[in-house]
Subunit: 247 residues, 2 copies
DNA sequence: GTCTAATGTGAGCACTGCTCACGAAACAGA
DNA sequence: TCTGTTTCGTGAGCAGTGCTCACATTAGAC
């Protein structure tokens, strides 16, 4: 049976297996600290080894190579973000669709600001030559699933206009996600969900990567007000609005 | 007098100055090739030197360090994208506002797909510890200026609803860009411009960084159809729409 | 108690950015 | 034309990286 993130790790039987799991966890913990402090590009297996008081070649007994360590950290980051978002969104009354959406947006942004290097690791430019392994797609889909669920819920509540017809070519283009959703969700809603997702991602990334420099004032209040306004605009465009963008 | 991108280089007087300019250009050219092939993270001064048949320490006579070389490539990339977008958008009739917007979007995406590493360099996660110098803000603003201009043009044509009133806090948050625009452009329009810019950026980045994997079908046709649809949706949300998102 | 497999060690390879002392060449001023 | 000053190319060297490998040690299985 394969191990997948979120699944509890098999209880180690022997002392050796226990030690192995423990040391692997220590490596991951240390790597996490280094990542948060220095960023993914500067993550060094040798430095992690030094911090743990082991010789550099010893970590290769636990981690096949640097890319594998990064992959673990990527899954970690996806799960961290996904958990934060699910908690935040889950605390809002189910029928307050706009608030659910805004809670999701702000949760993503708050997490990103608190964990900039982790965010950059999962949503920044991929390390060249690095291909995201299949293990990441589960954790990676947690946030978009939340967004699409909000839109689908709004739809089923009957409080939204009927899904708009979508051009056949466009509908065909999203066949993969449509299949993933069991083919039951109208393409228009999936497209809305994706649009909100990429709009949210764009706004957070812009802020985090410094593209709002000389555009939006630097303080926390200004940045939050700007972000909130723009996310309300996105919601509006999705049929999630409360009537007007202005607050 | 300081040299700024876009400004013609002073004609070199002596043979030495001419040689210097030439070798610096060769270094930049080679670095550009390496960037396109291997990505920014793998850009190596030593490798560039090798390609040019010079010893590694010699390039330090022309480029202070690796970061400076990256900065030149960043300015280069901004200008390349800006030029491509301005050309594309400039070819559309001035009064076809939606088409101007879509031309801009598709130009950004086309350039990004053709120059993925350059795109990642300017819109991906910034290299840790690297702060974008002031020289980049001019070239960096070319695309957003195009977008905001479209929206302002539409506004002045009288074919759009009046700019919506904006919450005072939100309006204050965009003081920097508002000042940059001379204080004449209504905040609502600037906010729309920024929203379109970050929506466009989000969509292109998602595709380029592989976040559409298992979501949107892989082929060129599917990806283009999806992108076009989403950009039309963004346009819609901006008041640039032609009436309906469906084509 | 023995045998095998897992684990830790340190040397080593090839690479990186960057510095520095050293000559050689090119320029500028007298 | 001669002299003095910059500028430029060279190669060695430092500190760091990822990763491999032969070797010793140790822990678990039988």
């Amino acid at each position: 049976m394969r191990q997948t993130a979120g699944m509890p790790i098999d209880a180690p039987r022997t002392a050796r297996e226990r030690a192995r799991a423990e040391i692997t966890a220590e490596i991951l913990d240390t790597a996490r600290i280094h990542l948060a402090r220095d960023g993914a590009a500067a993550l060094s297996l040798r430095a992690v080894a030094r911090d743990l008081g082991m010789v550099s070649s010893a970590v290769y007994r636990y981690v096949p190579n640097r890319d594998a360590l990064l992959t673990m950290l990527i899954i970690d980051a996806y799960d961290g973000l996904g958990g934060a978002v699910e908690t935040s969104e889950g605390a809002v009354a189910r029928t307050d669709y706009l608030d659910r959406f805004l809670a999701t947006c702000h949760a993503v942004r708050t997490w990103a600001i608190a964990h900039p290097q982790e965010y950059a690791l999962i949503y920044g430019s991929p390390v060249p030559g690095y291909a995201a392994p299949e293990d990441t797609i589960g954790p990676a889909s947690r946030v978009p699933v939340v967004l699409i669920t909000i839109i689908v819920d709004l739809q089923s509540s009957g409080r939204a206009p009927r899904p708009a017809p979508v051009d056949a070519g466009v509908a065909a283009s999203i066949a993969p996600i449509s299949d993933f959703a069991g083919g039951q969700v109208p393409p228009d809603l999936l497209l809305r969900g994706m649009a909100s997702w990429s709009g949210l991602f764009g706004a957070v990334s812009f802020e985090l990567y410094g593209h709002l420099h000389n555009v939006v004032a630097e303080g926390t209040a200004a940045r939050t007000a700007y972000f909130d306004h723009q996310m309300r605009r996105v919601a509006e465009g999705l049929g999630l609005g409360s009537g007007t963008v202005a607050r």
